[in-house]
């Protein structure tokens, strides 16, 4: 049976989605400045998942987990938890192609795997910072971040398992779409937190919505 204190209403989800889209607008502007490409970032889908549903959700959405990669960044404040930006098969390499021009300047003295990792960490850091930061800001909180970390395919599920196995955790899933002009790159952003923050989250969303109702 559903427990209203462990779930978000449609209006609360809509509010979070709108906040995320605003955060993404800022992230897009930041990314466009860095890579000199017009960027579209959008959040077409949001869902709240219980911790035991996250892994199966990823498997359903991303049947081929070959070459999947993930950027993780933990944050703390009233809103605290971990953010996991998962790039399905080959999406990381697609992002790397955006930097082809710059890479050519490096000649042969670079390691493609290191560059891919660095690119994903940088892009992930901007996207996660914009999303988490905007949610926190608009809900009247301030968060601090741990440095972003890169995880390759073989480390992803173990890392997620560790975090999701913490008691009382749940995930807010934002399916995200990044469109870098001619490059279509998509990814999944999970924010994992504890149910103990739900009363604060609901109250903060109510305060955010207050002036508009």
């Amino acid at each position: 049976m559903s427990n209203p204190l462990r779930e978000l209403t449609e209006l609360e989800k809509d509010a979070l989605q709108e906040i995320m889209n605003i955060g993404f607008g800022r992230a897009a502007a930041d990314l466009a400045e860095i890579i000199n490409l017009h960027v579209i970032l959008s959040v077409p889908h949001i869902a709240v998942l219980q911790s035991d549903e996250v892994i199966s959700y990823i498997h359903n959405q991303i049947p081929d987990t070959t070459d999947m990669s993930m950027i993780t960044q933990f944050f703390s404040g009233k809103f605290n938890g971990g953010s996991f930006l998962v790039f399905p098969h080959g999406e990381g390499r697609k992002l790397l192609r955006i930097f082809d021009g710059e890479m050519a300047l490096l000649g042969e003295n670079y390691d493609i795997d290191v560059l891919e990792k660095e690119t994903l960490v940088e892009v992930g850091n901007i996207i996660i910072g914009a999303c988490v930061g905007k949610i926190a800001e608009m809900l009247g909180d301030v968060v601090t971040y741990a440095p972003p970390r890169f995880f390759s395919q073989e480390q992803i599920f173990e890392t997620l398992d560790d975090v999701l196995n913490e008691s009382d955790s749940f995930a807010i899933l934002f399916k995200t779409v990044f469109n870098f002009e001619q490059y279509n790159v998509s990814g999944y952003l999970f924010l994992v937190s504890q149910h103990s923050i739900m009363p604060w989250l609901k109250q903060a969303i109510a305060e955010f919505l207050g002036p508009y109702e």
Partner: protein
């Protein structure tokens, strides 16, 4: 009193925008959640001002803006968006947007842009 159309896929975004429009002015407001609704509603409602989001599923704000300007080259469409990239702003202005406001909406900015649009003769 003016006729105002609000198009945004987010109910919260529509609520927040409506809260910025003075209620005592007696404006008639119609709203929709998709660019196709805007295109369908425009000829019958004939709004004085349209507020439109850009990133929407289905027909997005750019396409709806272009279509509305084809239906009515004098249409006054104010884009309300989180996408604040220079190229986006240039594109919507090229398509004939009256103005562009950043999300989240701020009451003073919305009212100023609305008043400006209503005070401007349709051209």
């Amino acid at each position: 009193m003016a006729k105002i159309m609000i198009i945004d896929d987010s109910l919260v975004a529509r609520m927040s925008l409506k809260a910025c429009i003075p209620k005592d002015a007696g404006h008639e407001i119609k709203e929709g959640n998709d660019g196709s609704v805007a295109i369908e509603l425009y000829p019958t409602f004939q709004p004085d001002v349209t507020f439109m989001d850009l990133t929407m599923p289905g027909v997005d704000g750019m396409a709806a803006l272009a279509e509305i300007r084809k239906l009515d080259p004098t249409a006054r469409v104010i884009i309300l968006t989180a996408d604040i990239q220079t190229r986006t702003i240039e594109r919507v202005m090229e398509l004939g947007a009256f103005g562009l406001l950043k999300k989240p909406p701020v009451k003073d900015a919305v009212q100023a842009e609305l008043n400006k649009a209503l005070a401007t003769e349709k051209q």
